[in-house]
């Protein structure tokens, strides 16, 4: 019998008895040292990516968000109880550090898309290149276009950072200079600052009418729970 792991928490003694997880399984708290993990029994070896399962996972993690700030596990995490205990025992300092970072906070997600990307970086249409010179000119256009898009992505990212610098305890930013979705950012925001954050983003959005925004949240801090990254950086293994 494996366990499906939803999230790790601190300062939580009991769950709502009605909490149900993947496939309707009862969710229980497994206490390990000073932590607790929300788990449910799981009979299979794989977890299907379905709408229902993804929403069930998200709902269980969200169910404790009003009482504490959980560290979510990635969807599909199946472990034995012993694996879970070994993991927590081996990474206790990193887990404590992460919980301290996210304590009292939620994640706000911002995605920014631009209307147009610089067309110079579009691939040349076959047949248009008739000589070595035109080939080189086309390559130059591609390089310039790519650089222009990358510069624009950096500018937008820097601008966004400046807007929320006083409101976000931490941030995770992904730049996608070759796509319309140019910036995907996650901000770790203290709960009592959410109204101010929303107001700030509303004003920011009005100041950049050429961009389009998707702001969602509050989320459990999915983007700030990656312990493995720290482990890899410290020990060179994943």
């Amino acid at each position: 019998m494996k366990l499906y792991a939803y999230c790790l928490v601190e300062d939580l003694d009991a769950l709502d008895a009605a909490t149900r997880g993947i496939s309707g399984a009862a969710v229980r708290l497994l206490h390990i040292d000073e932590f607790a993990v929300l788990t449910s029994n799981f009979d299979d070896d794989t977890v299907a990516v379905t709408r229902e399962n993804a929403l069930d996972h998200a709902a269980v993690v969200r169910s404790v968000l009003d009482r504490t700030t959980p560290l979510p596990f990635r969807f599909g995490t199946l472990v034995t109880e012993q694996q879970l205990r070994n993991y927590i025992s081996a990474r206790k300092p990193a887990l404590q550090t992460r919980l301290t970072l996210v304590r009292g906070c939620v994640e706000m997600s911002v995605k920014i898309i631009r209307e147009h990307i610089t067309e110079n970086n579009l691939p040349a249409v076959p047949g248009e290149i008739t000589s070595g010179t035109s080939f080189l000119e086309e390559k130059r256009r591609e390089i310039l276009g790519t650089e222009a898009n990358a510069a624009e992505a950096r500018e937008i990212s820097t601008w966004l950072h400046e807007q929320v610098a006083n409101l976000a305890r931490d941030e995770q930013v992904t730049l996608r200079s070759s796509e319309k979705l140019v910036v995907a950012a996650a901000h770790l925001v203290e709960r009592d600052k959410i109204p101010q954050y929303k107001e700030t983003m509303t004003i920011a959005r009005e100041n950049r009418p050429e961009l389009h925004f998707l702001l969602s949240g509050p989320w459990p801090p999915y983007s700030f729970a990656n312990i493995e990254l720290e482990f890899k950086s410290q020990f060179g293994v994943s």
Binding site: C7, V49, T50, F73, R74, L78, Q83, L181, S216, L229
Partner: protein
């Protein structure tokens, strides 16, 4: 430009929207603690293995594609 992306949506009001599902998938599939270094999930009965920190779905657009392929079922 579609207006669906050009909005601010926060909290309970958007929980039933397609956009919220995509955002949920983006969070639960891409992020979070990885314990075993290998997580096996399946899409349409095809097993897909995550190794280490590699992720299958890296963007909202790709998540949307997964959903689109599942629609005929």
């Amino acid at each position: 430009m579609s207006s669906t992306f050009d909005q601010i949506i926060v909290g309970e009001e958007w929980e039933d929207s397609d956009l919220s599902l995509l955002e949920t998938l983006d969070h639960v599939l891409n992020r979070g603690i990885v314990i075993t270094g290998e997580i096996t999930i399946s899409v349409a009965d095809i097993d897909l293995v995550f190794v280490g920190l590699n992720v299958l779905i890296s963007s909202v657009e790709t998540a949307h594609e997964v959903l689109r392929k599942r629609q005929p079922e």
